[in-house]
């Protein structure tokens, strides 16, 4: 049996690790080296972080009839999807943060044609960040520079071990950079979180707070930095955190979804203000930890095309409107989902409202998930970066080409979107 070895980029998360080595034999993956458990689920049909649990790969287009999903041909599925989306009064295109850039470009084209709203799956996470940049400015550094130079790293509401596992090793904590040759021995690392996570094992400081204490903690830090702190801070740890931040030469605040889960706009606004204030004397960057592999690509596209990194809505008279607030699903009467599992994240009441109103869902996905279970039409897709070539942006905005390694009869999501544009 002939074994071929290939280097490949992992699409497990926004790190886009490019040091994976894959052994291929007879058109199948035999072994993947350097991959994390998160990434493993991209190469084998298993669940994220649960390698024993199998994931069902979709191979045929499906149409729900009389409550049951039945196999149909690609042409039939495409016609049904086009009819659903074309006849909708208010269509929504949702997700896209786990698709390649070519597919994202096609989805934006489709949104324009359908006069739909295009909703990034992680809008609630990213919109507060961009609003914060607008208000306070930014110091943007690619991960290359952070790895080389950052001597102080703060994780705020983020546990990269669960959202982008190799981030710590490749870029932020243990990585041996050009001027940080001893890695974690030279870096100061802290975390702010609601829980005492695994991060405590290597963080010099872990500030554990209660829900809704984020703003008080930040106010306390600001007060300490400006020398106007009260004797007893409202949140324990503010003084230590202020001291930690003020010692940096080159610091980075990586924030995760924990930072935006409550009072997201206010927390990010204050964090952005803090980074700008610290940046007056030292170098400080505020950096979102994107879990989805091409979230950055989507916002890059929106910035390029529309100048606004928010959800564009082409369904308004007089031009496109953009929204920073997550969508109200109650407005929409048809949904196209790709690059996300909508029903996994949707609160119970909203999911049941969609089902009660019988809002038709068209889903493009390589694997069965909660959304495909609730969809009217399901179109299986090839896996980007494995079965089809694509482009994706690493979480610092650098684009990488994802290679095609394996043959497949399944179409790429971009091709399906282009077919939909023709068919609608």
């Amino acid at each position: 049996m002939q074994v071929e070895q290939q280097s490949i980029i992992c699409t497990g998360c926004g790190c886009l690790c490019d040091d994976l080595d894959v052994k291929l034999a007879q058109g199948q993956i035999q072994e993947v080296a350097n991959v994390c458990l998160w990434g493993l689920s991209r190469f084998f049909p298993i669940k994220r972080l649960h390698p024993q649990k199998e994931r069902h790969r979709l191979l045929e287009p499906l149409w729900r009839r009389n409550g049951r999903l039945r196999q149909v041909s690609y042409t039939q599925a495409l016609e049904l999807a086009a009819a659903i989306l074309g006849q909708a009064r208010r269509p929504l295109i949702y997700g896209l943060t786990n698709t390649g850039s070519w597919a994202q470009e096609a989805a934006l084209q489709l949104a324009r044609k359908l006069k739909a709203r295009l909703e990034p799956a992680d809008l609630a996470f990213k919109a507060p960040y961009y609003q914060s940049l607008r208000r306070h400015g930014f110091y943007w550094a690619p991960l290359e520079v952070i790895r080389d130079e950052a001597d102080t790293v703060l994780f705020w509401g983020a546990n990269p071990l669960h959202s982008c596992p190799r981030h710590l090793v490749r870029y932020s904590v243990f990585a041996r950079g050009r001027f940080m040759e001893r890695g974690v021995e030279e870096r100061q690392v802290a975390a702010v979180d609601l829980y005492r996570t695994e991060m405590a094992k290597f963080c010099r400081l872990l500030v554990q707070i209660e829900p809704r204490q984020e703003l008080d903690l930040l106010k306390g830090v600001e007060a300490h930095l400006s020398g106007s702190a009260a004797a007893k801070p409202a949140v324990k740890g503010a003084r230590k955190l202020a001291k930690f931040l003020s010692q940096a030469e080159f610091g980075v605040i990586f924030f995760g979804r924990g930072a935006t889960s409550r009072q997201g706009f206010a927390v990010l606004d204050t964090l952005g203000g803090l980074a700008a204030r610290l940046g007056e004397k030292q170098t400080w960057a505020l950096f979102p930890l994107s879990g989805d592999f091409n979230s950055q690509g989507l916002y890059h596209l929106l910035l390029n095309e529309l100048g606004v990194p928010e959800a564009p809505d082409f369904g308004h008279e007089g031009g496109v409107l953009t929204a920073a607030q997550p969508v109200d699903f109650g407005e929409f009467d048809a949904i196209l989902v790709l690059g996300a599992d909508l029903f996994w994240f949707l609160p119970e009441d909203q999911a049941s409202d969609l089902q009660k109103r019988q809002v038709p869902v068209v889903c493009l996905s390589p694997f069965a998930n909660r959304t495909t279970d609730c969809s009217r039409v399901v179109l299986p897709t090839a896996l980007a970066g494995l079965e089809t070539a694509e482009v994706a942006y690493r979480m610092d905005g650098l684009p990488l080409v994802l290679k095609k390694l394996l043959p497949t009869a399944l179409p790429a999501d971009r091709d399906i979107l282009l077919d939909l544009i023709q068919a609608v």
Binding site: S7, I9, D18, D19, Y130, L133, R134, H136, G137, F138, Y139, W140, A141, P142, L143, E144, V145, R147, D148, E149, R170, Y171, A175, G177, R178, F179, E249, F250, A276, G279, T283, A285, H300, L303, N304, E305, L306, G307, V308, P309, A389, V391, G397, L398, P399, L400, V401
Partner: protein, 456 residues
Amino acid sequence: MNLKITGGRVYDPAQGLDGAERDLLIQGDRIVSSLEKTDRVIEAAGRVVVPGGIDLRGQVATYGLNFLGLWNHFPSLQELGRLYAAAGYTHVHEPFLTMYTAGYVHRQLAAIPLVDTSASLVLNLRDMDNRLKSLEQMEEVGQTIKSLQEKTRALDLRLLEPFVRYRQAFYSHRTLETARTLEGLTRLALDCNLRFTLEANPEVLELPLPEPRAFHLAALGRAVTDDRLLEPALARLEEGGTADLGFELPGASAAMAGKPVKVDLGGHYPLDLNPGGQEPLAALRLALAYQGPNLAFSLGGPVRNPVAEFPRYFSWLWDRKARPPAGQGQLPPREFSLWDWVWATRTLPAKILGLADRGHLQNGARADMAIFDLPPDAPRRRWINGLSRCHTLIKAGVVVVENFELVAPETPKATYYRRTGAEGGPLLAEICQYRSLRPENLWVPDELGGPWVGLD
């Protein structure tokens, strides 16, 4: 298609044509001396015909630049291409591409329609600091730079920081001050047949340049921060070095005022996308005081200098009454002729970028030309109206703009880079070992840009 452009007043400094009435013949994408048959005649009587414009320092694809959209300060890439075409430009050169942002820059450049593109590789001298001190290792450094240039698909080489400094005190023994760095770079340029574009600053002007012709000074006007520096700036040009102006509007943008808008490209200082801006009088004074052939036109930065502002800057050059009130009386009375303008915006930029078949209208040149509706007797105050938007733009023999309307939005375009054929040695391997990406992913693959045209 065979085209004949008849009756236009042709301005082409390369041929010594200063408004002479000439017919121009185009076969395919080239200018030719004769045609067997003509498919189409474009009437240009009473109009000005010039080569297609080349923006020597068009900051359009710098890493992080699209964040300026947050303050509505940057047009979409589609819009940008249309603006350039409407202004009579056929090529834009991005100044800031680094080893690891090369893919980003090229993907952005590829998304700009209509105009051809290219980029400068910004060298980080920290990657080769110790070797720059040693005469014996110049050859290796030169080969490495050439190899980097080809792998990142850059057209030329640029230095933002002509020194080596470190944030970390631990590395201070590796510091290289500007004078010593310039000495090393000059030797490198002479030994390895390289030419560097050096972002000008006051320190560079105050130091002697061992061989001015080894350097092109970019945004020279911005470096003339006081009157005392005008003389050394002029001296650089008189010594045979080339430069571009780097016009910049004063005052910070209101929406971005006081906010840091910086991108770290891995140098000692970050790239400031919202610099305070300075009075353009120094750049203007320099442009008017220097009467030789070595000064090209360029703008200083992206935020306040969109291509739509070009005509305003041009009018300052050719019409003394249009100049900023603050400069009235202080500036030399000289006014640019159309010949001077064509030289500074077309002929010289093409020479500087090494685009041998652009910037002129000789036989064999690529048929890139702009036709402006400017009557022969138009007073200078009217030039801004006539030269703001081109009546007809022809790119590689294709009519792109006709009667002020974009008629060929899908015109093919390409990204130009220098094919050096150099292989990287141990120094390149050393540089790559610090990067988080494997070398094959650092270098720009076909898919991230193009279509590509490699120049030898």
